[in-house]
């Protein structure tokens, strides 16, 4: 069965009048891993629950496969909805936990057994099937929970921040396992998160939402390298992109307090064709700028130094702007030291301050 999902003009308005989702159009391909990313309240969970049939959209159509499912109850949509991964039944073995969703069905005991074994093999937990949850490590519990979602062999998995309550290293492990499993099974996955690291590392495509409005859909690195709106620019990437309100003057220079950045005429021509006013927002990622004691286009002083082990993040004060730049841990400047910043003008981002849209 093909399990593509089509969302057409989806609007969700809550009874109190609040607009949760504003005219959303999104096509999710069969076998795709799509991440819905955004801050809390952006409409991502409402969208997911509408696909699942747990909410009814105010207007618009939802298709799963070729089927219009607007009027189909959640139980008949052939989907698995996973909230969090560790709600296992403590009095049941791993085997019984995985088999549970099949018990209420007409499926024969032999078939149930065959399905549980097949799922356990994919998850590499065959040797744990007799154990109860309290005798499993938390990573193993996660796999059992995943097994329970898989055993019904749904074509679509919908997941709502399933890794949120795990500690950092387990979360990192589960990210890898989930991503591997999804491509292995070839199922369609719609995954909701507010964590941009999860979105970047797991999604084949990411749909970024804010305030109910879809901001951008694309492959992770495309979104990272060409954010289409100011919101996306600020939301994706860690440390966050440095964003500075600037004006482009007649001499092809971007200016703000204490800042004057000459840009090539070709670039300003492009900006001017897209843009009426002079107010822009300049965006620079931490890894696209560098600092040195002597050379650079901007002068500032070191405000904080944050060593992270494999890299060090510097916050540099230039006029009233705080620049973030990442460096190798071997580069060392003291707090308060004067430094120069340079960056690659090929990799700067410019946004229209009024429309919030990318101008180049």
């Amino acid at each position: 069965m093909m399990a593509q999902i089509k969302l057409k003009d989806i609007v969700k308005r809550f009874p109190n009048g609040a607009l949760a989702v504003a005219s959303l159009n999104l096509d999710i391909a069969d076998g795709e891993f799509l991440v819905l990313l955004g801050p809390s309240g952006c409409g991502k969970t409402t969208t997911l629950r509408s696909i699942a049939g747990l909410e009814r959209q105010t207007s618009g159509d939802i298709f799963i496969g070729e089927r219009l499912v607007n009027d189909l109850p959640a139980g008949l949509r052939d989907i698995a909805f996973v909230f969090q991964f560790y709600a296992l039944y403590p009095h049941m073995s791993a085997y019984d936990n995985i088999a549970f969703p099949l018990r209420a069905t007409q499926i024969s005991t032999a078939e149930v057994d065959q399905r549980v074994q097949s799922v356990a093999q994919k998850l590499r937990i065959e040797h744990l099937l007799k154990r109860r949850p309290n005798r499993l490590a938390s990573g193993e519990q996660q796999r059992v929970a995943l097994g329970r979602a898989m055993v019904r062999q749904p074509q679509v998995f919908l997941m709502d921040e399933p890794l949120t309550n795990l500690d950092a290293s387990l979360r990192a492990d589960m990210r890898v396992e989930l991503k591997h499993l999804q491509s292995d099974l070839g199922v369609t996955m719609v995954y909701v998160t507010h964590d941009q690291v999860e979105a970047m590392s797991m999604g084949q495509r990411i749909a970024v939402m804010n305030l109910g409005v879809l901001q951008q859909v694309g492959a992770p690195l495309d979104i990272y390298e060409r954010p289409q709106t100011l919101f996306v620019a600020g939301f994706i990437g860690n440390p966050p992109m440095t964003l500075i309100p600037v004006e482009l003057d007649e001499s092809n220079t971007l200016r703000a307090e204490g800042i004057a950045i000459p840009v090539p005429p070709a670039l300003t021509d492009r900006v001017r064709t897209h843009q009426r006013g002079a107010e822009l927002v300049l965006g620079i990622r931490a890894e696209d700028s560098s600092i040195s004691a002597q050379e650079g286009v901007l002068s500032g002083c070191v405000r904080t130094v944050e060593p992270l082990g494999d890299e060090t993040i510097y916050t540099i004060e230039v006029g009233s702007t705080l620049f973030r730049t990442s460096t190798s841990p071997t580069i060392r400047h003291a707090v308060g030291a004067p430094v120069k910043i340079s960056f690659n003008t090929d990799r700067i981002h410019l946004f229209d301050a009024h429309t919030q849209q990318r101008v180049m």
Binding site: S201, R285, G309
Partner: protein, 363 residues
């Protein structure tokens, strides 16, 4: 501003030893972070320093003076928690001024003190608001302001950034560090987040099961973890740790399932051979100390791409090598698909070997 000296501190709850013979010196004006997982005993240790728990053994001294006999309030330490505990009916100004109002201070002096603190925290424009009208980050700043306004001996902080969202937490990390430097006060800060510890601390103390594992400058601890616990706890992605043994005759690390063999320089051999155990080891290497190539280079081991995790400024490759997974950091321009065979080579100056029995670093 004061120094804090913790000596042989032990605290038990029934048969559970929460803090086990801890020694830690916090210098005047130093930012020391106590780092460990949930249940390590961090908070108990901090509460013993604050006087909120009575230790079963050991001493705490401030500026060389044993403070055992002093009640919490007499210790003059400022405590900042996860929850901000602001007075909801008071304005920001009144919340910050509160600790001073019990003292015989003039209104003008109080106003000056609040203003100074508000300026440092960048909350001058919020002074007339009430807590409900503030964001989480702003509330946290007010809680800090209330602690800062009375110039205590030292600041004790228990995971103060935990309830903030990711973006705010990153911002507050760098702000807290700036504030500590500007205040020039002693900070003793507890967290389970290794990024907070690495990025803020002058020195960090890693605690596990009540026992101090290692104390040092963050970059030092990152580069030279003293045991397996520290190696696995610090760094993201986590250090690759793979079971292996060592063949002294050929100076070769051999995977425990014999999936790969890695010849190492003689200097390394001597260090490993000096320990009696060469059969039960763990090979440790950080993701940034492995490089990938498509052609079988020399001195490397083969692996296949299991999962690719693009993060924007870097891409983490998860490679299946024998029965294990290696995480490798690559630039975003390096793009190969899942399933591809690659060669992993190692920066041999930066590899780690641990004794699996004692859990200690051999090098």
């Amino acid at each position: 501003m004061s120094s804090i000296s913790i000596q042989h501190m032990t605290k038990r709850f029934g048969s559970n030893v929460a803090v086990n013979d801890v020694n830690l010196e916090i210098k005047d004006r130093e930012f020391v972070v106590l780092l460990g997982p949930t249940g390590a005993g961090k908070t108990t240790l901090l509460r013993c320093v604050a006087g909120l728990e009575r230790p079963d053994g050991g001493t705490v001294s401030i500026d060389g003076q044993d403070i055992k006999a002093q009640a919490p309030a007499e210790r003059d330490l400022a405590f900042v928690f996860q929850s901000y505990a602001l007075y909801p009916r008071k304005t920001v100004y009144q919340n910050i001024a509160f600790p001073l109002e019990a003292r015989a201070m003039s209104k003008a002096d109080i106003a000056a003190a609040v203003k100074r603190v508000a300026g440092m925290l960048h909350i001058e424009h919020l002074l007339e608001r009430r807590p409900a009208q503030l964001s989480g980050g702003e509330q946290q700043r007010v809680a800090l302001g209330r602690a800062m306004v009375r110039r205590p001996h030292a600041f004790l902080m228990d995971e103060p950034l935990t309830n903030l969202d990711f973006k705010l937490r990153a911002e507050m990390r760098s702000e807290l560090k700036r504030i500590q430097q500007e205040l020039s006060e002693t900070f003793f800060y507890v967290t389970n987040d290794q990024v907070e510890a690495m990025s803020m601390a002058d020195r960090m103390a890693v605690l596990n099961r009540g026992v101090i594992q290692q104390i040092g400058v963050p970059q030092e601890v990152y580069e030279h973890p003293i045991n397996l616990f520290v190696a696995g706890f610090i760094g993201s992605p986590r250090m690759n740790l793979i079971k292996c043994k060592f063949d002294t005759a050929t100076s070769t690390l051999i995977d425990s399932e014999d999936a790969w063999r890695l010849p190492v320089p003689n200097g390394l051999r001597d260090a490993v051979a000096a320990t009696r155990n060469t059969d039960d080891l763990l090979f440790g290497v950080r993701a940034e100390d492995v490089s990938l190539s498509e052609n079988g280079g020399d001195g490397g081991i083969p692996g296949s791409v299991y999962v690719v995790e693009p993060l924007g400024d870097r891409t983490i490759y998860d490679l299946r090598v024998g029965g294990g997974i290696f995480k490798v950091k690559a630039p975003p321009t390096f793009r190969v698909p899942t399933g591809k065979q690659l060669n992993l080579s190692f920066n041999l100056d930066r590899i780690h070997i641990f004794d699996a029995q004692t859990q200690q670093a051999i090098l």
